[in-house]
């Protein structure tokens, strides 16, 4: 018992390693692959992203003829952002994507 006392005291005084998550946030590093966003002004409708997407998450709307990414299928690999010739798709640092509204689960 006395053998562990110094360790116990050290641990009592030490700051916790964990972060109290919803209140304290850790910024993801540069180049983090989070929610992909589409800049529709830049899109030239070449549809390379649709061909590059491994899980067919990108679809085109019939009315506006612009792509949208369904995040329910997206695996955040970043292939679409890499293949886009005008850099219209970019990966953001946003990662809290759980939602009740299906319209929120789309990146347009």
């Amino acid at each position: 018992m006395p053998r562990i006392l110094p360790q116990v005291l050290k641990n009592v005084l030490r700051k916790p390693v964990t972060v109290k998550y919803p209140y304290v946030r850790v910024e993801p590093p540069e180049g983090y692959r989070g929610r992909p966003v589409i800049d529709k002004e830049k899109c030239i409708r070449c549809w390379l992203c649709i061909r590059a997407c491994p899980d067919r998450a990108i679809s085109v709307s019939k009315e506006t003829k612009k792509p949208s990414i369904w995040l329910g299928r997206c695996t955040f690999c970043g292939e679409c952002a890499e293949v886009c010739p005008t850099r219209a798709i970019a990966m953001t640092k946003e990662f809290e994507l759980a939602t009740y509204d299906i319209q929120q689960a789309k990146s347009e």
Binding site: T75, G78, E82
Partner: protein, 383 residues
């Protein structure tokens, strides 16, 4: 008089769905029967329906813990089919990420092993240190787990020069704590009492049942694909193949912990010797008809990919042999003669990853022979 003790598919001692049928005589285990296939996802069939590029991300999802090794093996195999060689720098980056993955996988093993023997403090400490590796991986590849770094003909993301000091600092922290764990594994009374002479796999049995990876190395079998059949940058990197003699759970833990130190050495060496230049070569997706076999050393052992191409942009057949699958045959000789209380830690001693394992094997409990049966046959047997 023997009793049957079924464990799984849903059981608190196992984190993944797999069924084990233990025959016990009192406390002693006299026989074990393993039923695999609860985590079957049909990935091999799906692999032969997508093109080569999309398959990278599917093969990454065969196993969450060792995903880089899966994609590296897959990409190396496809590069062989295409007849291209990735640039030198890409090989080094692959080696760095693979070794970081090995460190995180072994620390994860240590945490769960400590949890299985009821040593929760060590579990917390090991997983705290694992976070350092995960942060490094997140910094290098952009995601904690699924790195998506590999591509056919190289890697997609470079290791930046400003990242190198952070990686070295992280490795120093890891080295310090790993040395502490090695010391702990050799001296702590709880660990010694729960791990020595437990689940012993003799050298003879390890060779007979074709054990792979740390399991074989803990039984004094010197086998490591990185050294035996070097791939990628491992030709140029120097490291020792860690072996232990005893073959019990303690030796299996020691092998893994000492491998972390070797991995740290490899990463440092690779960062120092990494040549400059391009990181990827462009490869067309139309592969000429051919077949290829590629094997690498995953954290759990030998990983094998077989790919047959037919001139189109989709492979005709992809076969994956995961290390856990290779280690199931030796399970019986580790369990028989032990007691019921040993089951979780001995099972965790092989570092099973059932997610990797999507085939069905039956072990004949009388003769100890394994054979593979199809799903239909299995269904007929159930009736």
């Amino acid at each position: 008089m023997t009793f049957v003790l079924p464990i799984g598919p849903q059981h608190p001692a196992l984190k993944e769905p797999e069924f084990f049928r233990f025959e016990v005589k009192g406390e002693e285990i006299v026989d074990v029967d393993i039923h695999l296939g609860y985590a079957h996802r049909g990935i091999e069939e799906a692999l032969s329906r997508r093109n080569y590029k999309h398959n990278i991300y599917l093969s990454e999802r065969i196993c969450g813990i060792c995903n880089v090794v899966h994609t590296t093996t897959y990409c190396q195999a496809v590069e062989q089919l295409a007849g291209v060689e990735p640039p030198e720098r890409a090989k080094y980056i692959r080696a760095i990420i693979m070794e970081l993955e090995r460190i995180h996988s072994h620390l994860l093993w240590l945490g769960i092993a400590a949890f299985q023997i009821g040593f929760n403090t060590l579990f917390m400490l090991a997983w705290r240190d694992r976070e350092y590796v995960m942060d490094l991986r997140e910094m290098i590849s952009g995601s904690r787990v699924h790195s998506a770094t590999n591509t056919i003909g190289g890697v997609r993301r470079d290791v930046k020069t400003e990242h190198v000091p952070t990686i070295l600092r992280g490795l120093e922290k890891l080295e310090r704590s790993t040395k502490y764990y090695i010391n702990l594994f050799g001296s702590d009374r709880t660990i010694l009492a729960r791990c020595t002479n437990l689940g012993v796999l003799s050298k003879k049995d390890a060779i007979k049942f074709c054990a792979v990876g740390p399991l074989a190395r803990a039984s004094d079998v010197k086998t490591d694909i990185r050294a035996d059949d070097p791939y990628g940058a491992y030709d140029a990197l120097s490291f020792n193949v860690v072996i232990e003699r005893e073959g019990d759970v303690l030796a299996k833990g020691m092998v893994r912990l000492r491998e972390i130190l070797e991995s740290i050495r490899i990463v440092r060496q690779a960062l120092k010797e990494m040549p400059g230049g391009p990181i990827r070569t462009r490869v067309g997706l139309q592969m000429p008809p051919n077949e290829t076999v590629e094997r690498t050393e995953a954290p759990r052992g030998e990983l094998l990919y077989y790919i047959r191409s037919n001139g189109t942009d989709t492979p005709e057949r992809v076969r994956v042999r995961t290390p856990t699958y290779g280690n199931f045959a030796s399970m019986k000789s580790m369990f028989v003669g032990g007691t019921v209380a040993e089951i979780p830690i001995v099972m965790w001693g092989i570092d099973p990853c059932f997610g990797c394992n999507d085939r069905v094997t039956l072990v004949d409990s009388r003769t100890g022979k394994t054979r593979i049966v199809s799903f239909d046959e299995l269904r007929r047997r159930r009736k």
